[in-house]
């Protein structure tokens, strides 16, 4: 009786070991931050990858918004159980970079995996944000967007403006806005993400620095310089334009989007990734064009920078798992996957091939707005002012910028004084970050 039992147990054990070795799939954990339809799209990309091969299985888990996802990744690292891939938004880049023992740079993962991989296949303006000063890729861009100008075609017609000739410069925007207000609109233009668009991208677009040391790319001892005469001029102009309703402040983040979709204002600066949202919420035809610039600024227009998120590989996993990560990264970089993601979401493609594939399919002829962002990103070869930003404690700096700009717009302070104070506050944050990350 006893013997039988032992044999039975042995048989079961052997059977299980056998099954296990037959299905030795390496699991790759990916924590991401897209809810709703984007989240479903992420899951379908992962499902396709898992179907295509049987060596690796990517498990994608939704962890909440960008902040939640980053916090979850950090907490997991601290309890020594990090995911393999973590999606982190662009303002968290400096924090991730500084965490040398917590991450594994993408160029290392790719070269150690020994798979064919060419960094030149990627759009340099997109990956530029996520590279070392020498240009090596630290994280894999996943969803990237850039701000563009949206305008209401019906409103333009009503105000006697030509929808085929959107305003190119800020003085033109003011002229258009006056005509729109005269035609009965409550305001000329408003904006989402004001710090990202009217400070950070404003700097890149006009080729003026946001911070020293190549916007923080060349060292933690960077300092903010976003109080240059050009910055002051632009912000003061926005504040002054409020009187004639040329400009209306819409609130933090993209809370002002309803101002455009409800027709309160007829022009709006917002991320290119906001296209799908407006398509759904507004009852009028609209188009996009490049961000306006100041014609008297010598460097404008240069190129804009991206926002969005990239995929970071976390440290502390096995070689086999990193090989899996590399295989997956190669898969999501293929033109077909990229082009599909780009066309579905409105985010920028990350490879040149995906761009040409989309162009070849004639998608841009049908949706001209989609190409605006790409043209604007690649208008010129990026300079040290327009490659991207890398500042520590940048989340806090964004909050400082909201507070500062709101104080300026309500007339509590002038643009000059406000931006000077913001720079002083921001530099304190930078020094603090420098000290904590030595």
């Amino acid at each position: 009786m006893k013997k039988h039992k032992i044999i039975l147990i042995l048989a079961i054990v052997v059977l299980f070991v056998g099954i296990n070795s037959a299905q030795a799939v390496t699991e790759i954990q990916w924590w991401f931050a897209h809810g709703g339809r984007l989240g479903e799209k992420v899951q379908s990309i992962v499902a396709d990858f898992n179907k295509l091969q049987n060596k690796y299985k990517v498990v994608a888990t939704f962890k909440g918004n960008y902040h939640d996802t980053m916090m979850a990744g950090i907490a997991a690292f601290r309890s020594k159980n990090p995911p393999h891939i973590l999606q982190v938004f662009e303002v968290g880049t400096a924090t991730m970079m500084a965490a040398k023992g917590a991450i594994k740079p993408v160029y290392e993962v790719m070269s150690e995996a020994g798979q064919p991989w060419d960094q030149n296949a990627y759009l340099s303006t997109v990956i530029g944000y996520y590279t070392t000063p020498e240009g090596k890729m630290l994280s894999m861009p996943f969803n990237s967007s850039t701000p563009v100008l949206y305008y209401n075609v019906d409103a333009f017609k009503k105000a006697g403006l030509d929808p085929d000739k959107p305003p190119k410069t800020w003085p033109e925007v003011a002229d258009y806005a006056k005509k729109l207000v005269a035609a009965g609109y409550q305001g000329g233009f408003s904006t989402a993400w004001i710090s990202w668009i009217h400070i950070e991208n404003f700097g890149a677009w006009h080729n003026v620095p946001t911070g020293t040391k190549a916007n923080g790319f060349e060292g933690l001892d960077t300092e903010f310089v976003l109080n240059s005469p050009l910055h002051v001029k632009h912000i003061q102009q926005l504040a002054d334009w409020q009187k004639e309703k040329i400009f209306i402040y819409g609130g933090r983040r993209n809370k002002g989007n309803a101002k455009f979709s409800s027709g309160e204002v007829a022009m709006y600066t917002e991320s290119s990734a906001g296209y799908a949202g407006f398509k759904k919420t507004s009852k009028f035809p609209f188009r996009t064009s490049m961000l306006p610039y100041w014609p008297d600024a010598a460097g404008a227009p240069q190129n804009t920078i991206i926002g969005g998120a990239s995929l970071w590989v976390m440290a502390g996993h096995s070689k086999a798992e990193y090989d899996g990560v590399a295989t997956f990264f190669n898969y999501i970089s293929t033109p077909a996957v990229q082009a599909d993601w780009h066309q579905f979401t409105g985010y920028l493609p990350i490879t040149t091939d995906a761009y040409y594939l989309t162009k070849g399919q004639g998608v841009y002829d049908k949706k001209p707005g989609m190409e605006t962002a790409l043209k604007q990103m690649t208008l010129n070869k990026p300079t040290s002012n327009s490659r991207g930003l890398r500042f520590g404690n940048f989340v806090q700096m964004r909050a400082v910028m909201y507070d500062t700009l709101e104080a300026i717009f309500v007339g509590k302070t002038t643009a000059k004084k406000g931006l000077d104070d913001a720079v002083a506050k921001g530099n304190r944050l930078l020094r603090k970050f420098e000290k904590a990350n030595k």
Binding site: R253, E406, K412
Partner: protein, 293 residues
């Protein structure tokens, strides 16, 4: 004579209080000490480098204009919330106490808001007052008020105070009503026979007898405004515009969970903890003396 229960078993009383003590230690005392420890460190988000910095985090905070402003904002906010929530609910309770017809329906409606989660309440107020699509802001604009709380600090403050007080009123109402109902009727009737007006009766009889409730509610309301209003700020204003509603607890959340500045936010929580300890001591030592039990 004091009533006293005597345990003959020496161990049993300790066993009986043990669960409470363990819970307090694990969920309150230990985290509090962790915060104290964190507040003298400067650490990166991943915990890769930790530097002991002594009181530097505190020095930073107290020279930080953003933090100093948030102390001021917290004071204005919590005192206003407590004052509005308490005075209006007392008025409603007095009226409900006298109501004869439909008293139950009346009470139910007043208690209702308490069942609404703070964030849900906040989002509701946010939409009502939204400058672009809000119903109330539509009427405000129609009567000539330039309503835009995304830019005007005073309006934003008013909005979050209304949202916070609205919800707390239900809680206060319950306690005031219960308190009023424990006041012996003969007192009031005797005063009425002596010719005291309803107002006089309220000020000289009801209110003094209600003072324990009032005292309790002051403590509860201030604690509520300090801590539980986080969801309202988060959903409606995010501390803005230009720091006008940046209360201390929201700033701590922002600095730690969004900005990952662990040492700085730990120092802020230590200060907040100290603050609330002081407040409670003051309330119990000085205000309690003036309370009739």
């Amino acid at each position: 004579m004091e009533k006293r229960v005597v345990f003959h078993n020496k161990v049993l009383p300790y066993v009986l209080v043990a669960p409470q003590i363990i819970i307090t230690l694990v969920f309150f005392i230990w985290p509090a000490f962790m915060a104290l420890y964190q507040s003298v460190q400067q650490e990166d988000a991943f915990g890769l480098s930790t530097v002991f910095v002594g009181v530097e985090n505190f020095k930073y905070i107290f020279t930080d204009p953003i933090y100093l402003n948030s102390i001021k904002v917290t004071m204005v906010f919590s005192l206003s919330v407590a004052a509005i929530a308490m005075s209006l609910s007392l008025l409603l309770a007095v009226m409900a106490d006298r109501a004869i017809r439909g008293a139950t329906a009346y009470k139910t409606f007043i208690i209702w808001p308490y069942a609404v989660a703070p964030v849900v309440a906040a989002v509701m107020w946010y939409f009502l007052f939204n400058p672009t699509v809000g119903m109330i802001s539509f009427f405000l604009k129609a009567v000539g008020v330039d309503w835009n709380f995304t830019l005007k600090g005073g309006q934003a403050m008013l909005l979050v105070i209304i949202a916070a007080a609205w919800r707390e009123m239900s809680y206060n109402f319950l306690f005031f009503l219960a308190g009023l109902q424990t006041i012996p009727k003969p007192f009031i009737e005797a005063a009425a026979i002596d010719g005291a007006s309803p107002a006089k009766r309220f000020w000289t009889i009801s209110l003094p007898l209600l003072s324990p409730t009032v005292f309790f509610l002051i403590v509860m309301n201030i604690v509520y405004a300090f801590f539980d209003t986080f969801g309202i700020i988060h959903a409606v204003t995010e501390g803005g515009p230009s720091e006008a509603t940046n209360i201390m607890v929201f700033k701590i959340y922002h600095d730690s969970f969004e900005a990952l500045d662990l040492g700085g936010s730990a120092a802020q929580s230590v200060i907040l903890m100290f603050f609330v300890i002081c407040l409670t001591v003051v309330q119990f030592r000085y205000i309690e003396r003036k309370v009739h039990y």
